[in-house]
Symmetry: none
Subunit: 403 residues, 2 copies
């Protein structure tokens, strides 16, 4: 398989430059930068004869081959704020490269292949993760288009600003339209790097609960209000943050994170009257996600009772734990073998667009590429060697399915 | 003493209307609204024969009587954003009323009396609290005029925009120029309201340490990073917030508040890499302020060591605890007695312009008026009855000192 190392390197650099500075990338979902990324990927695919289209959720597809159910391959094009070059992007880049390598080899696809760049996987601005693939596979929350960012701009407006209709629900793919979905993604955790292995095959994806907690206390003068007379919303939230941490640490294969926090009024000499924070609870099994959520709810109630604060918990999304397709897992194990890698099976602690496909009944497989420096930060790094291995294995799998 | 209840009520309404809506007032220091408030107060004083002037820090003075060291009486004219009608304003209104009542009674001042309206006590926009009285008593921080607001406008520019030179340091009063300073202010805490007593006499003003703490952790993916591999900046900060609370609760007459907090990058699916929060530490005695600061520093270090985070603490300001003048305290106790109130002695947990006068060697006394609904919010309320009692007691004290 003649993956073109120099072309892949050049494409990585070109895509990283959009929203990038140094090794960091800030390319938020539904932003003009994400739109530029789509345009770039679309130009590459069009250059190879693909029919390129965007749907109403701002996903981009580049299709090669004739009619009938397609093999879908890709990942997402957005990043978190101050994220890195590889999370999501590498999956699109390797999908493009795999297709180009197969075309370079003179392959004519017997089944259609579509390269996809999903829109707004991270949900950083509007709070709906996996936005584009949710739309494509009919898993958007109700009234998703009305969801607004912190400055009051709704998703519908953001879509219209980049030329879409404003109704992402029409992006839903027809049943039977997609024969399989393949996604390559950096691991985002240290297991492959620790084991010294460049590729891994995903067995299943964690279940996730995202929520917003609002703590109502009493705003008071920081100097004139004695400690025992306070109902400090931030102090209560601080206890809750630590309770989330403790609850997750006490359960198997579970994590819990508070990544956003804000207080009102937010002045150094005023006891906070309100505190809002995010909850991200995950576990490998559904039972554990539920147990973690129960523990956290109980802690929030207990802390509020003790401190005289009131809390509301708004569940923003709940994604079940998803086992991926067994035969595609085996295909990816063989594809990794074909590039000389004995890939381990791993579960994914991160949610992925792949889960929407699998949940919609589309057989789905995921390939992890080793990454150092964590993820969601400018230090995330998949080496060019590993990217070439990943693209080659992906091309191998594509040829098996569509060649 | 013939305090004019209707006139005081009218003046409260007229002043509250500047920057006001409902019971709320937003009249920021160095704003056009604060300037209008000065013009209104100046017109009242001019109408009673006072010589009215503004200094280069935009403080307003209205002077009655001849040459020599003056008895200064007043408070500040600005409010916090979304503040109330009484914090600061009531002290100026009652000073005007006390002087008018004495003039109505036919009193001729043997010593000069100056009513003062201090500029920008709250420091809401530029971050320098007690701005006007700092300028008058030589306690401005270095290069205060260059301090800019969030949109980059410097204090010097704001001063020039309202017709001043731009150099507030020239507002400094000559040594010996002020014989005494009297300030009436709402209590801002619940002690008088709880005790059911309309007036209190301030014994001393707390010392304050303001600082900014920055916690450096490691930004990581919220799903792929197991709990034991994290250096979560917010979780560390949460422990620190609780340590501030515990340290203050464990010391006499001390309070500690974290009123501002922010995290980076601030996304729900990213373990926070950095957290910045404010520290407001106060105590009645200097020794206790220092003990509180020591406890908090030690806790921040200990928590960082245990969690693998690094913290820096930037001290933004440090105001010493200030005992007020003993003979003026006794005078105010007698003045309260003259209106039938057995006023308790209280320490002030809030900073006040009065501390700048006392720290500059000017004998200073403060009278508290009961307020319900806290302070720094639209619910703060001193009743007209209590305001009349306060103005009458203040007039009594003024007659003793200058009559």
């Amino acid at each position: 398989m003649s993956v073109d190392r120099a072309r892949l390197e050049r494409h990585i650099a070109e895509l990283s430059a959009i929203g990038g500075s140094g090794t960091g990338v800030t390319r938020l979902g539904l932003s003009p930068d994400e739109q530029r990324a789509r345009d770039l990927v679309g130009s590459w695919l069009r250059g190879r004869g693909a029919v390129v289209r965007r749907d109403s959720a701002a996903n981009i597809y580049g299709r090669l081959g004739g009619a009938g159910p397609a093999i879908l391959v890709g990942s997402h094009l957005d990043s978190v704020p101050e994220g890195g070059r590889f999370d999501g992007a590498l999956g699109v880049l390797c999908a493009v490269e795999a297709v180009e390598a197969l075309l370079d080899d003179g392959l004519r696809f017997k089944r259609p292949v579509e390269v996809v760049g999903w829109c707004d996987e991270e949900g950083a601005r509007f709070g709906i993760g996996l936005f584009g693939s949710c739309a494509a596979f009919g898993r958007l929350p109700d009234n998703a288009a009305a969801r607004a960012d912190q400055s009051g701009v709704a998703i519908a407006e953001a879509l219209r600003a980049i030329g879409e209709s404003g109704d992402p629900t029409t992006a839903r793919r027809a049943f039977g339209d997609v024969a399989a979905y393949l996604e390559l993604h950096i691991e985002q955790g240290p297991r492959l790097a620790t084991a010294g292995i460049p590729l891994g095959v995903v067995s299943d994806i964690v279940g996730i609960l995202h929520a917003r907690v609002t703590v109502h206390g009493r705003q008071d003068h920081a100097g004139a209000t004695i400690m025992t007379a306070r109902a400090d919303a931030l102090a209560a939230a601080a206890e809750m943050v630590l309770a989330v941490e403790a609850a997750a640490a006490g359960l198997p294969d579970a994590v819990g994170t508070v990544g956003e926090i804000s207080v009102r009024p937010g002045a150094k000499n005023v006891v906070p009257g309100e505190c809002i924070f995010s909850l991200d609870l995950r576990a490998r099994s559904e039972d554990t996600v539920e147990a973690l959520a129960r523990d956290v709810r109980a802690a929030i109630r207990r802390i509020g009772d003790a401190r005289g604060t009131k809390s509301t918990i708004d569940v923003l999304s709940r994604v079940p734990a998803v086992p991926l397709d067994g035969s595609l897992r085996d295909l990816f194990l063989r594809s990794a073998q074909s590039v000389g890698v004995a890939a381990p099976e791993l579960f994914s602690g991160a949610g992925h667009d792949a889960e929407n496909a699998q949940l919609a009944g589309v057989p789905t497989g995921m390939l992890f590429v080793r990454s150092t420096g964590g993820s969601h930060n400018p230090n995330e790094l998949a080496t060019l060697d590993d990217a070439v291995l990943g693209a080659t294995a992906l091309a191998h799998a594509l040829r098996e399915l569509a060649g």
